[in-house]
Symmetry: C2
Subunit: 193 residues, 2 copies
């Protein structure tokens, strides 16, 4: 499948506003990849596919979780967390995407994980700062992204955790573990200097 | 050992201010136990012992972690998290405390855990609201404690997580898991009504 056919396939799955967000993530991911030494083509591809299943009905996503090797524990958390692992699984099956780094960048774009690769960081951060994003901390996070990949990601996870705290919603443990791991990463780097 | 001898043994380990806090936790834990149907004597005992090792030097606490069956993973987190499990281990050895519920109330008084017992909730909450406590959310939490054990605990964990977010410090995963589990507990109870 050509890249523009893939784009068309994704566009059909998304409302216009989310398609514009996807184009923003592709652009930001490519820029961040250039800046921080990740593969720009993989970053753009992961950006294109990251929300592929976001607007699938709950039941369709639930079925993928139950019928794939995805952890059923996911079902205990809110639906917005499902589409990332579900999406990674579906695009591997449907479009034959086999690059594990691209699939992981899709799989962990919402929560991050402990030991994120360069590409995973780039896509996750692009999702927080693409040009269309509007939320209280976004300008600070964009500013941090000019000199670091880890600091703006920590600030991004902080904003997510803070939002869920104020809403009284459950926080996905992986989000917290990713944040803790990035804090360690920065500390370790500072100590090894 | 008589209870007043035990009190004297604890008093000797603590600075005056922390001893006053301990007396406050004993009182609040006893009151909460009466109110919510936990054992008031166990609540008072756990309150007395909960901070037994809090002022032990870092190295002494580290040694207990390394030489006991406590998870070494604790050492990756900030020192304020050590004294609870360290204290539970030390008071079981030193004073022959064998009641597992009392020991768990000491062990989990900082972080909570998934599936907290009534006594664990009482002691953890008493630590958040004893009369000497002063922090922004304390009055709200005291108010919530008049009608629920779980809601004020969630608010307490929220205040801890929020504080650590603003300080850029790591958050102990168990704190988050405890908070999530209490949210589930309240939801499940509401649905079963």
């Amino acid at each position: 499948m050509m890249f523009n056919e893939l784009m068309e396939a994704v566009r059909r799955e998304l409302p216009v506003k989310r398609w514009e967000h996807t184009l923003g993530v592709m652009q930001s991911a490519k820029e961040l990849a250039h800046k921080y030494g990740a593969d720009p083509d993989k970053a753009e591809l992961a950006g294109l596919l990251h929300d592929f299943c976001k607007y699938w009905p709950t039941e369709r996503q639930r079925l993928v979780i139950l019928e794939s090797e995805l952890p059923n524990e996911l079902l205990n958390y809110d639906k917005p967390l499902w589409h990332a692992p579900v999406g990674a699984y579906v695009v591997s099956q449907e479009f034959g995407i086999k690059d594990e780094d691209v699939l992981n960048a899709i799989r962990y774009h919402t929560s991050g994980r402990v030991g994120m690769t360069l590409l995973e960081k780039v896509v996750c951060l692009a999702d927080y700062i693409e040009p269309g994003r509007v939320y209280p901390e976004v300008e600070t996070i964009r500013l941090l992204a000019e000199t670091s990949l880890e600091k703006p990601l920590i600030a991004g996870f902080d904003s997510t955790i803070h939002y869920l705290l104020t809403k009284g919603e459950k926080i996905y443990p992986l989000t917290l573990l990713s944040r803790n791991a990035l804090i360690d990463e920065i500390r370790d780097r500072r100590m090894n200097r």
